[in-house]
């Protein structure tokens, strides 16, 4: 294997970072959208990734062509998300933040254990076809197609979402509800529909992330959603909870940070990478308690 020039190393790692950042950003958008509107941190968002991946897996096992199975997986995620909203979160709307957070923990445990029961706790390989998962060579660079696809898909989705949020009535309603729920209700905005839309969009994004993540990792298991949602949460916090541009920014910053730390930490310290990431997060919160794009007003203690 020819060794890479420093420039090529940077390009390689940059692609890596942006690819993983794209995935984090897509996850974070779903999470922050729901938070902004409902004040709910939906930890079960991670399990939507799992649901979508398993649905795709079983469909391909049943003979459905992969790309249609992908659609099916995304639909499964979407449906699960909407169900979650209807059954677990709608009845407690307006409850304290803490109650809602804990309920999302309960939903996570529920879904994960059902999955363990139904699918067994061991991991299964994810049948990504060649197009999605092939090594591509550009000179000495080796890039996996899934990375390119992740970046492109994220780019397209971000453009679509931006258009949706700024140009459509529903998107503007979502921004309004996220800013002031009471005033929105007084305007007659159908807040139920707004909540459902937020969940729906977030869940669809989670389904897409599921496909990308499963391809990158190569296998799926019932607890696979745990780390992604944690990372997504961190990304949201970096950018400022409730802020959509913040989620995107946070996602990419997190991706870049991870790859950067992986590269520059001396060998004995690399296993501590996640600790460093969280350490940096905590330091960030000290200076910007509400995230990078959140307000800079601090509670005066």
């Amino acid at each position: 294997m020819t060794s890479l020039t420093p420039f090529e190393v940077i390009i390689q790692q940059a692609i890596n970072a942006i690819s993983i950042g794209s995935i984090y950003a897509l996850m974070a958008i779903g999470l922050t959208m729901v938070f902004g509107i409902l004040r709910l941190i939906n930890f079960a968002h991670g399990d939507l990734i799992m649901v979508g991946s398993y649905a795709t897996l079983f469909m391909t096992m049943a003979g459905v062509p992969f790309w249609i199975a992908v659609g099916g997986g995304i639909a499964a995620s979407c449906l699960t998300g909407l169900l979650m909203e209807r059954v677990a979160y709608r009845p407690i709307r307006g409850a304290q933040d803490v109650s809602m957070l804990l309920t999302s923990f309960a939903v996570t445990i529920f879904l994960e254990n059902i999955a363990i029961l139904m699918f067994s706790p061991s991991s299964r390989p994810f049948p990504a076809p060649g197009l999605l998962n092939s090594a591509m060579n550009f000179g000495a660079l080796r890039v996996n197609s899934v990375d390119i696809i992740a970046i492109v898909v994220a780019g397209i989705l971000l453009v679509l979402l931006t258009f949706f949020i700024t140009r459509t009535d529903m998107g503007t309603s979502m921004r309004a509800v996220s800013q002031d729920l009471l005033a929105s209700r007084l305007m007659g905005i159908n807040t139920n529909r707004v909540f459902v839309t937020a969940f729906g969009i977030g869940s669809i994004l989670a389904g897409i992330v599921g496909i990308l993540w499963s391809t990158r990792v190569g296998k799926i298991d019932p607890l696979m959603g745990f780390y992604p949602v944690l990372k997504a949460f961190v990304a949201c916090v970096i950018g400022g909870l409730g802020s959509l541009p913040g989620a995107v920014l946070g996602g990419y910053i997190l991706g870049i940070l991870e790859i950067l730390l992986q590269g520059i930490l001396p060998a004995p310290l690399t296993p501590f990478r996640d600790a460093f990431v969280f350490g940096i997060l905590i330091v960030l919160l000290l200076f910007r308690p509400n995230g990078l794009l959140g307000s800079t007003e601090m509670e005066k203690f």
Binding site: F35, I41, A88, P91, I92, A95, Q96, D97, V98, S99, L101, L102, T103, F105, A106, V107, I109, F110, N113, I114, I116, L117, F226, L230, F233, V234, V237, L241, P271, F272, D274, A275, F278, G279, L281, I282, L285, L286, P289, N290, G291, M298, E299, K300, F301
Partner: protein, 353 residues
């Protein structure tokens, strides 16, 4: 008009009666109950310590510490390393620094050191983080847990890394556990009743009003956080010397959820509620765990469904939050002095107040 006057027991007498009843119960269990029941009771007491400690920081000062179990890990590992017999230390943890290699402490000092270390960590961490609010402080504590976990998994020389840490001497018995439970409840109860406690409740009820009265939110939160960390670490040490072998995996989120369920069930902000919640959920979990092995009711046979207990607990939790989010006790406490009161009716002269 008749003025019925009830004679209540003084708080001191009530306390003594409770303590006596508690230890009497423990004696009964120790000498009368099966070892199965004894183990459950020990586990229950450890849970009570964990829930009451968490309540101090979450229920009373509103710092939702999602990573609190990190302190339990600190307590467990610290105490275990200290109590490990010297001979075992040499074989098991060959790379310990010299001064630790030659130290072997008894249960109590080891536990106390674990608690104090956790308290120090809580202070250093809390000084920066306690002014964050809502979900942000939750993330920060989660970060704390991840950092602790990563350190435990990678600091091989101290902790054996991700491998099981076993051979911990079985010091925990029902008396140690009972004693610490009583101490924890007593200290946190007194705390809640003291001026610190009143300040904390003022903060919880109306932060802005509290600040305008000059109450320092930061200091209160930090204090509660540190005290809470101490007892959580103590529980960790008790647990380590009970279960005798563990690994960093034991201190992650599933365990957190169990404790939180007990906290919510009992009511955040109520110490007696925490106890009730812990008892209730422990019993329920045990019943469900036994039912997992399959139930045979004569003509109805429910096959074993492993993992079902977790699912049912999650459902119970959701139902609880929907229908009674304040838990069994809400913010109220059980008034034991009423329980032991003697009702005496006295006719009083109509002396106006």
């Amino acid at each position: 008009m008749e003025n019925p006057k009830k004679k209540h027991l003084s708080p001191l007498a009530t306390g003594l009666v409770l303590v006596a009843a508690f230890f009497g119960l423990l004696a009964l269990i120790n000498f009368g109950a099966s070892s199965y029941i004894q183990r459950i009771v020990i586990g229950l007491c450890i849970s009570i310590i964990l829930v009451v400690s968490l309540n101090l920081t979450s229920g009373f000062t509103g710092v939702f510490s999602l990573g609190h179990i990190g302190f339990m890990a600190i307590g467990a590992y610290t105490a275990a390393i200290l109590t490990l017999p010297l001979s075992q230390k040499l074989a098991y943890l060959p790379d310990l620094p010299g001064w630790l290699e030659n130290t072997q402490l008894a249960f109590l000092p080891a536990t106390l050191i674990g608690g104090l270390l956790a308290m120090l960590v809580a202070f250093l961490f809390g000084v920066s983080v306690m002014r964050l609010t809502g979900p942000y402080v939750g993330v920060a504590t989660l970060g704390f847990l991840v950092i602790v976990n990563v350190i435990l998994v990678n600091w091989d020389s101290m902790t054996r890394g991700a491998r099981t840490f076993s051979g911990v001497p079985p010091f925990t018995d029902i008396w140690w556990v009972g004693g610490w439970t009583a101490v924890t409840i007593y200290v946190i109860w007194r705390f809640a009743r003291s001026s610190y406690g009143r300040q904390m409740m003022a903060i919880r009820d109306n932060q802005i009003a509290a600040q305008s009265l000059g109450i320092s939110v930061l200091r209160m939160r930090l204090l509660a956080f540190c005290v809470s960390a101490f007892f959580t670490a103590v529980a960790g040490s008790l647990w380590a010397h009970f279960i005798q072998s563990f690994s960093p995996k034991a201190f992650l989120f599933v365990e957190t959820f169990a404790i939180i369920t007990m906290l919510i069930a009992g009511g955040m902000g109520s110490i007696s509620g925490s106890v009730i919640g812990a008892v209730g959920i422990t019993i329920l979990a045990e019943i469900l765990r036994n039912a997992e092995r399959g139930v045979n009711l004569g003509f109805v046979h429910i096959p074993p469904v492993y993992g079902a207990s977790q699912i049912i607990m999650a459902v119970i939790f959701i139902v609880l939050i929907i229908f009674r989010p304040e838990g069994i006790m809400g913010k109220r406490e059980l008034d034991f002095s009423r329980l032991f009161s003697f009702k005496r009716k006295k006719r009083k002269e109509a002396a106006s107040q």
